[in-house]
């Protein structure tokens, strides 16, 4: 049997037994502690088909996309700073990035709540601040590992810095830019719910908080399960495919 088919069968067996065990165990404990898988599946369907609830999911998606775009722009600006002014290299690599990288996400969130109040802007700001160090680190690595000979070739072919930047530097950064987006996507889903729960006036985190206060555990389980499925699906269907194309184009083994 092919390895791939074998793996798929094993995964199916694993999840079937997992859901079976969950189903059996859910009879032993009260519903508010562990709702059964059938219950959770039904709740997911209700959430997806309900207009106002699926709007909350869309809102979370908007928060994430905005944060990813802003973090990418800010991150690329900071990452390129040392190339424009070499003096800032030490500051960016040894002071700013470690500082941002160890600053607590909850800290940013609470500061944002104090500054901007409870709204979508707070959520986007907090998620952006968590994502920025990831963007800086990835793009800095990309700029650092750039092939110096190709850059020299570009410099000898044209004096226009702008042309060199657009035609050589940017295309060589594609794999790192993609890695940045991929990591940002994973991390932002992890933190966006926290941000919405404390500082948002909408989104899946807000729904989670409401469900938590009303002890609607089915909704909590449904939201978490939906999110996991969504993240895994986008990883498999979108990110892995683009990665394959990039790997082929950039001859990564």
């Amino acid at each position: 049997m092919e390895l791939r088919t074998k793996k798929i069968i094993i995964s199916l067996v694993f999840w079937a037994s997992f859901v079976g065990a969950w189903h059996a165990y859910s009879f032993q404990v009260p519903v508010y502690q562990l709702p059964g898988p059938g219950n959770v599946a039904k709740t997911i369907l209700t959430i997806v088909s309900d207009a106002s609830m699926s709007r909350q999911i869309m809102l979370s998606l908007i928060h994430i996309s905005c944060a990813m775009v802003v973090a990418f722009i800010v991150g690329s600006f900071v990452a390129m700073l040392p190339n424009l002014h070499p003096v800032s290299a030490h500051f960016v690599d040894h002071r700013l990035t470690p500082f941002l990288n160890s600053f607590s996400g909850v800290g940013w969130l609470f500061i944002a709540i104090l500054w901007f109040g409870i709204n979508s802007f707070t959520v986007i700001f907090a998620v952006t601040m968590v994502l920025v160090p990831f963007a800086i680190i990835n793009l800095r690595t990309g700029l650092f590992e750039m092939d110096a000979e190709i850059l020299e070739l570009g410099a000898s072919l044209t004096r226009s810095k702008w042309k060199n930047f657009c035609k050589i530097v940017v295309p060589m950064l594609y794999p790192y830019a993609f890695a940045t987006l991929r990591i940002s996507f994973g991390v932002s889903w992890k933190v966006v719910l926290t941000a919405e729960l404390f500082g948002g006036s909408g989104g899946m985190g807000y729904m989670l908080n409401k469900a938590r206060q009303e002890f609607e555990t089915e909704i909590i389980f449904a939201l978490i399960t939906f999110m996991i499925i969504f993240v895994i699906a986008s990883e498999l269907l979108v990110f892995q495919r683009i990665q394959k194309i990039l790997d082929k184009r950039y001859h990564v083994e």
């Binding site: 995964s11 600053f103 909850v106 709540i113």
Partner: protein
């Protein structure tokens, strides 16, 4: 001479920090304290925070929770990584299923579920932190155990039949660089993201302190606690984890 030049730019770089603080002060001086306190006020708040005996207790509690979580996460990851090497069943289940799901699990989800399942206690906080940081550690451990030199393992087998001896004398030393990288990463994530556990499941620790400050709209204290967390992270990372990572790095092993 080159060294001198590097030093010079480094010094100039430090001036940038002063410039950033100056800029911060310039903006903050006309704004009310609860919006943006000046750097001096935050520093004073940090010092008063550190001189109160309570804070030391909170720092100690948070630190022990984080360390316990990192230790357990590392043990679980090593165990799973070893298990995944045994046969294709465990390999598929652990790497293609458990890791993928843990990796996309929202951190606040664990916090809410932890409180529902185990109510509020120290154990709950540690549980939540373990669940949040385990995938980060597991990725590294899996890689470490997968990239082992098969010939070395074969040699070990031909020298001794004792599996335990082979495991401790060969497998673990070969995987150590990856395990340390995983521990270092988990430690960072624990302070950055997993501190959310203390907002739900505890009435002590730095996360709780942060929430208290936020409830009182005390921006100085929020910033002071954040800086305290940055300091705690950097001290342990710089003094213990980074030297260890350098000592056992993959590159030095090869040479």
């Amino acid at each position: 001479m080159w060294n001198n030049q590097v030093n010079k730019t480094a010094h100039l770089s430090e001036l940038l920090i002063v410039a950033v603080c100056g800029f911060w002060w310039l903006i903050a001086k006309d704004l009310p304290d609860f919006v943006l306190p000046t750097p001096i006020e935050v520093l004073i708040s940090l010092i008063t925070l550190l001189t109160v005996s309570d804070t030391v207790g909170h720092v100690f509690i948070s630190m022990s929770r984080v360390l316990a979580a990192v230790l357990f996460a590392a043990l679980i990851s090593i165990l799973l990584a070893v298990l995944s090497r045994r046969n294709i069943f465990f390999d598929t289940v652990i790497e293609n299923n458990i890791l993928v799901v843990l990796n996309s699990f929202p951190s606040v989800g664990w916090a809410i579920l932890g409180v529902i399942w185990f109510s509020i206690s120290d154990g709950t906080v540690v549980f939540i932190e373990i669940m949040i940081i385990t995938p980060f550690c597991l990725i590294n451990c899996l890689q470490g155990f997968r990239q082992m030199d098969q010939e070395l393992l074969e040699m070990g087998k031909s020298l001794s039949r004792n599996t335990l001896r082979n495991f401790f004398k060969l497998h673990i030393p070969l995987a150590v660089p990856f395990i340390i990288a995983g521990v270092r990463m988990s430690y960072g994530i624990a302070w950055k993201i997993a501190i959310v556990a203390e907002l739900f499941g505890a009435s002590s620790g730095l996360g709780w302190l942060l929430q208290q400050a936020q409830n009182q709209s005390n921006a100085q204290r929020v910033l002071a606690v954040c800086i305290l967390i940055v300091l705690l992270f950097s001290i342990v990372d710089g003094l213990i984890l980074r030297p260890m990572a350098r000592r056992y790095s993959v590159n030095t092993m090869e040479t």
